[in-house]
Subunit: 406 residues, 2 copies
């Protein structure tokens, strides 16, 4: 008998029929003798609709009240699932964020969980209740409702699992698990049985489609094993675990890509202290998220500085940088909207040299030019021309031995 | 400077535009130097939709979870109104039932307010915040969400006004106030400026369309003056107050009617102790609401017993009573679906004889037969054939001098 936390995402609870499917799955786990705590998202689309509604009231809706509004989404599904389980004669009880004592800081819209009062949940579980917790929401020290940001229910589930010392945290979603690459781009992509927290954290785009990245950081901190799987079939999904836990010893576990990136280069920037701050402070204040930053040293006290931004923010960032270039005395600003980032990720590369050279050679063989390179301990990312994205993913996937067997 | 509680009903907050109208009205009251506490209903239709959804899950949805579900309706409008006021630069804050410390008993779906923690609301008001409270919902001693029954936001508003010692409790709705009769039936009906709690309590149908009757009982108990008015214009509405407070001294203040009533008579019921219980317990347990009950003594240890039920429950009640009649040895059961109840109401009739005879004579003059009569201290009700309802209301309205001047 185990204590299992199950989290169901928006597509898994999109209508009453799917909620019934979820209830059946919960009931099955319960009937097998397990204690079950469920964390639930809003029905697919509901949160977007509420955000739209708030947007009609104000361009910048008051964050405290937006959280009160958004919290109704998960409240609704929590009540509906508990009600469905009750109608099937299972002793289910919904708990909202404040009832489950999900204590957060006061950062409305992006609150961080400080603590979860496990006692109340545990008392209910001990009496063999199925506890259905509204995900995404918490309660700050003033008793105000907070929300945890997009995908926050994943973090709710991991936090609840950590607080309860659960044996397993199952994240149910509409995909089968984590893949070695995007199957839409790379038909030979295959599902991974196991992946490490660090690899997930480095997978950004590919991983974020499946799990809120913050939840992975939380899971790593408290060593909560996550089982990502589909709510629409009975297949095993992907375990996200500590890398000590008997990982497959692949050097590279996945190839990811991000389009919708643009590159901006400031040419011949005076190489003086404080220049980088002058370049990045204004666009960060304008809300533009800068991803890669690369600076090459040049002769003569000057340097070229290149960085990437989302394509949608390119024009805005470009306008700002043109002004800044004049102020700091850079020679020129130029950019490119048609780029993409391709990355290979794997904890194995830590102990293996040669990953970079395999990557560069593989791309060179296809005549794909690399315009930027950045690396982390377990990731190598290259910026290439956007039109080569799919090709690059496929050839790298093959080169690192990730292709599924025919 | 006064402390004013304003309650807005579902039609007043039916969409974002109407919510903005409400915000303007709140702002105007606030700008005049008043402290304002707002109690808000769910958008028109929302509660019905949620009840329907629960009905698709189960014929008898778990009441605790139904309350969690229904409470989202008022939570949504409270957040939207506070957000709208914030966008207009007014310091508004929403409070849910548990945050406003609306403490109730555990009777989910029909909970009674035990107490309201006025301290938190008062602290916010003192700092010149506009407090927007989600009506209809409370919190029981276990911390579970409760709801107060249909129209419960009225009771929320009156309870909040009582707890705060508010100077006035304004109930905004889609009608101008309380009328001497239903204007759809009686074109000469006019708006009352003042009416007493007791008269409202006796007006059942006519009053209940405007105010939850429970809220009137509450207002009477704590002597909270209620101002019923329209949210769509600036007209003064109707004050519902203690009758000492300088009432108009009309003998009769209003004529009300209820259709959709049916009559059931058990003929020659043995006149023994316990018989009435045998007749009413089964249909009450079946959820049928019995309105008037009349028993005429007959010679020979037998009695005829007549009562009214909603037309929708007639067939069910009739089937039950046929069984019961056999069990208790009554001679026959018969009934009539085509009846209506017409009532005249007025605290003035307490000190005036002759109201009954005016009523009976007026109906007789039109050849309207009276099949049942019941009276309270300030009300006389007659059951008549349904087809005469409108005529009866109009002639009584004229007879008691209620007609508006041409």
């Amino acid at each position: 008998m185990s204590l299992i936390v199950q989290k169901y995402g928006g597509t898994s609870v999109a209508d009453l029929e799917r909620i019934r499917n979820v209830a059946n799955r919960v009931a099955k786990t319960y009937d097998a003798g397990n204690d079950v705590v469920v964390v639930i998202s809003a029905m697919a689309g509901v949160t977007d609709n509420l955000v739209d509604m708030a947007g009609q009231i104000s361009d910048l809706p008051e964050k405290r009240e937006l959280d009160v509004l958004l919290a109704t989404g998960e409240q609704t599904t929590a009540a509906l699932l508990a009600m469905t389980l009750n109608s099937m004669n299972y002793p289910a009880r919904s708990l909202l964020g404040h009832q489950a004592e999900v204590r957060t800081d006061c950062d409305h819209g992006n609150a961080r969980i400080l603590d979860i009062g496990a006692d109340r949940i545990q008392a209910l579980v001990k009496r063999r209740n199925i506890v259905v917790i509204a995900g995404f929401q918490g309660c700050d020290p003033h008793g105000d409702i907070t929300t945890l940001g997009r995908g926050g229910s994943d973090t709710s589930a991991v936090a609840v699992a950590a607080a309860l010392g659960a044996d397993s945290c199952e994240i149910y979603t509409d995909v089968d698990g984590i893949y070695t690459a995007d199957p839409n781009v790379c038909p030979k992509a295959k599902k991974l049985n196991v992946i490490s927290y660090d690899e997930m954290l480095n997978m950004a785009s590919l991983g974020a489609k499946v799990l809120q990245i913050r939840s992975v950081g939380f899971a790593k901190k408290y060593n909560v094993p996550i089982h990502v799987r589909s709510s629409f079939n009975e297949e095993e999904g992907t375990m996200v675990v500590n890398e000590d836990a008997g990982m497959e010893s692949l050097i590279v576990t996945s190839v990811t890509h991000e389009k919708n990136q643009a590159r901006i280069t400031l040419k011949k920037v005076p190489d003086q202290p404080g220049v980088a701050a002058k370049i990045f402070t204004p666009i960060t204040q304008a809300g533009v998220i800068v991803d890669m930053i690369i600076q090459n040293t040049r002769a003569g006290g000057q340097t070229d500085l290149t960085f990437t931004v989302p394509t949608a923010d390119y024009d805005r960032a470009m306008a700002l940088e043109k002004k800044i270039a004049q102020e700091i005395g850079a020679e020129d600003v130029f950019g490119d909207k048609n780029i993409a980032k391709v990355s290979v990720i794997g904890v194995g590369m830590r102990n293996h040299s040669g990953v970079a050279s395999i990557m560069f050679n593989t791309l060179a063989k296809e005549n794909i030019n690399i315009s930027m390179i950045s690396t982390s301990e377990i990731r190598i990312s290259c910026v290439i021309e956007e039109k080569y994205t799919e090709l690059a993913v496929r050839v790298l996937h093959t080169a690192f031995g990730l292709d599924a067997e025919e």
